[in-house]
C-alpha cells in the first residue's frame, strides 16, 4: 500500500513536519525506511482515530498498529497531536491534488466541478479511515485545518467555475458545511463505500452559491 504513494513523495522536505530529521539525512536507504515508517505511523493514526476517536487514541495504539517502537514514533513526532496534524494535512493535500487533476482534465465549468467532486468522493471512499480523520475528528482537534480545507475547496471551486464569484444568495462557507455534514453522516453510518453516490447532492451543494437553487438542482438531476 505504501509503495503506491511513494512515487509522489520524492520531494519530501516540505511535507516533513518540524521533526522531519529523517529527510535531512542524505543516505537514501535510511531515508526510504524512515519515510515508510512515517507513512505507517500516519496510517495507524487514521485507523486508531476511526476505531476509538482521537481522544481515545494513545501512542501505544499507534505504535502497535504501525509495528514500530515508541522511540521510532518520537523520532518522527513530538506527540500525538503533532502526528494528527501531519496526518490531516497530508490527506488534505492529497485530496487537493486529486481534485485539481480531475478538474483540470475535465476542462472548466460545471464539468470540472463534477469531476473534482467525484474524484474527492472516490478517494474518501477508498480511504475511509483518513476520511473520518479529516471530516469527523479534525473539526474538534484542529479547527484551523478545517478552515484551511474550506478556503482551499472554495478557491478551487471558483477556479473551476472560471473565476466566478458567488452571485446567488447562499453562502459558500455554509455550502462547505453542508457538504461536510453530508459526507460525515455517511461515514458515521459505516457506508464509506457508497460515498460516490452522493455526487448529485454534493454537486448541488457546491453549485448552490454560484448558480442558485434551480440551476444547481437541475445539474444534480442531470447526473442522478
Amino acid at each position: 500500500m505504501g509503495a503506491s504513494n511513494s512515487g509522489q513523495r520524492e520531494t519530501g522536505q516540505a511535507r516533513e513536519g518540524p521533526v522531519g530529521a529523517a529527510v535531512l539525512t542524505p543516505s537514501l536507504p535510511w531515508d526510504l525506511a524512515a519515510r515508510s515508517q512515517r507513512e505507517r505511523i500516519l496510517r495507524a493514526m487514521a485507523q486508531s482515530c476511526a476505531e476509538k476517536s482521537f481522544a481515545g487514541t494513545t501512542i501505544a495504539d499507534i505504535v502497535g498498529k504501525a509495528s514500530i517502537s515508541r522511540a521510532t514514533f518520537y523520532k518522527h513526532f513530538a506527540n500525538k497531536t503533532e502526528c494528527f496534524f501531519a496526518a490531516a494535512e497530508e490527506f488534505l493535500a492529497e485530496l487537493g491534488e486529486t481534485a485539481g487533476e480531475a478538474g483540470a482534465t475535465a476542462g472548466s465549468g460545471t464539468d470540472a466541478v463534477r469531476a473534482g467532486a467525484l474524484a474527492v468522493l472516490e478517494r474518501l471512499a477508498r480511504k475511509p479511515d483518513h476520511a473520518s480523520l479529516l471530516l469527523v475528528e479534525t473539526p474538534v482537534v484542529a479547527p484551523e485545518v478545517v478552515r484551511r480545507c474550506r478556503s482551499m475547496a472554495l478557491d478551487r471551486l471558483e477556479v473551476s467555475l472560471g473565476g466566478r464569484e458567488a452571485t446567488a444568495e447562499a453562502s459558500p462557507e455554509m455550502a462547505f458545511g453542508r457538504a461536510n455534514l453530508l459526507i460525515a453522516d455517511q461515514l458515521a453510518a459505516g457506508e464509506a463505500a457508497a460515498l460516490p453516490k452522493l455526487l448529485p447532492e454534493l454537486l448541488y451543494v457546491a453549485l448552490l452559491p454560484y448558480v442558485g437553487h434551480d440551476e444547481a438542482l437541475d445539474q444534480a438531476r442531470r447526473i442522478a
Partner: protein
C-alpha cells in the same frame, strides 16, 4: 451495547428540572433540613452542573473527578453512588441538556403556522439556546467531541434527531426527490455556522443571524424566493424583539 443501540437510546434526564442558570444548582454547604431523597437528587444535579462548568472552564480531558467534586461540594463516595466515572457524569449532563433543548425546539416547532414559519420558530430556539450560555454551548458542541467514541455516536444521533424534524418538508418540496439527504444538507448549513461561532466564542451573535440562517435552512426545500420571504419575516421578528427590549426600562 453496540454503537447503534446507543445511538437509538432515548435520552432521559432531569430535563424538566434543569434551571437555565446552572449556578443556581450550587446549594449552600452544611446542615439543612431537607429530606434524604431531595438531598440525593440535588447532589446529583449539583454534580451534573459542576461537570459542565468544570469542562467548560478547563476542558473535559484536562478535568478530573476531583475537580467536579470540588466544584459541586460533594464527596467522592456520593459521586460514585450516582455515576460510574467522569465520562458517565459528563454524558448524563449532556443528555439532560440535549433533552431540554429538544423539548423546547419541539414545542416551538409544533406551534401554529405553516411549515416554514414553524421551522423558523424552532431555529430561533436553537440559536437563543447556544447564545444564552457560552459554557453550555461549549460543552455540548466542542467538549463533547473530545470525550471518545460513545460521545461521538451520541452526538451524531443528536444531530440526526434534530434534522429529522425537517423531514416534514420533504412531503411538499419537489427538490426532496432529487436530494435524498435534504435534511442533512439543510441542517448542515446551520450546524456548521453554530459550531464555528461557539468554537470562536462568538455564540452571542447567533440570535442576530436568525434571518440568514432561516434562509439557508429553508433554501434546499423552497428555493431562493420562498426562503427569502421567511428571511424577511425573521428580520421583522428581530426588529420587533429589539423594539420590545428598547422599550423595557
Amino acid at each position: 451495547m453496540s454503537e447503534r443501540d446507543d445511538e437509538r437510546r432515548p435520552v432521559e434526564g432531569p430535563a424538566g428540572d434543569l434551571p437555565k442558570d446552572l449556578h443556581l444548582w450550587k446549594l449552600p454547604r452544611g446542615r439543612h433540613g431537607l429530606p434524604r431523597e431531595l438531598v440525593a437528587r440535588s447532589q446529583r444535579e449539583r454534580l451534573l452542573a459542576a461537570v459542565i462548568r468544570v469542562s467548560a472552564a478547563k476542558g473535559y480531558r484536562a478535568s478530573s473527578v476531583a475537580d467536579v467534586l470540588g466544584e459541586a461540594g460533594v464527596g467522592r463516595e456520593t459521586f460514585y453512588r450516582h455515576f460510574k466515572g467522569k465520562e458517565d457524569c459528563f454524558l448524563t449532563a449532556n443528555d439532560a441538556l440535549v433533552a431540554d433543548l429538544e423539548k423546547r425546539v419541539q414545542r416551538a416547532y409544533q406551534g401554529p403556522g405553516i411549515w416554514p414559519e414553524r421551522v423558523r420558530a424552532g431555529l430561533a430556539v436553537v440559536l437563543d439556546w447556544f447564545a444564552a450560555s457560552p459554557e453550555i454551548a461549549r460543552v455540548m458542541l466542542i467538549e463533547m467531541g473530545t470525550v471518545g467514541p460513545i460521545a461521538r455516536v451520541r452526538f451524531r444521533g443528536t444531530f440526526r434527531r434534530f434534522t429529522a424534524l425537517l423531514e416534514e418538508g420533504a412531503d411538499f418540496a419537489e427538490s426532496a426527490r432529487d436530494l435524498p439527504n435534504i435534511a442533512t444538507l439543510a441542517g448542515g448549513a446551520v450546524f456548521a455556522r453554530v459550531y464555528e461561532e461557539v468554537a470562536l466564542d462568538n455564540g452571542a451573535t447567533l440570535p442576530g443571524q436568525l434571518p440568514q440562517l432561516t434562509f439557508e435552512l429553508l433554501l434546499p426545500y423552497l428555493g431562493e424566493e420562498a426562503a427569502a420571504r421567511e428571511r424577511a419575516s425573521a428580520e421583522r421578528e428581530l426588529a420587533e424583539r429589539a423594539g420590545a427590549d428598547a422599550a423595557q426600562p
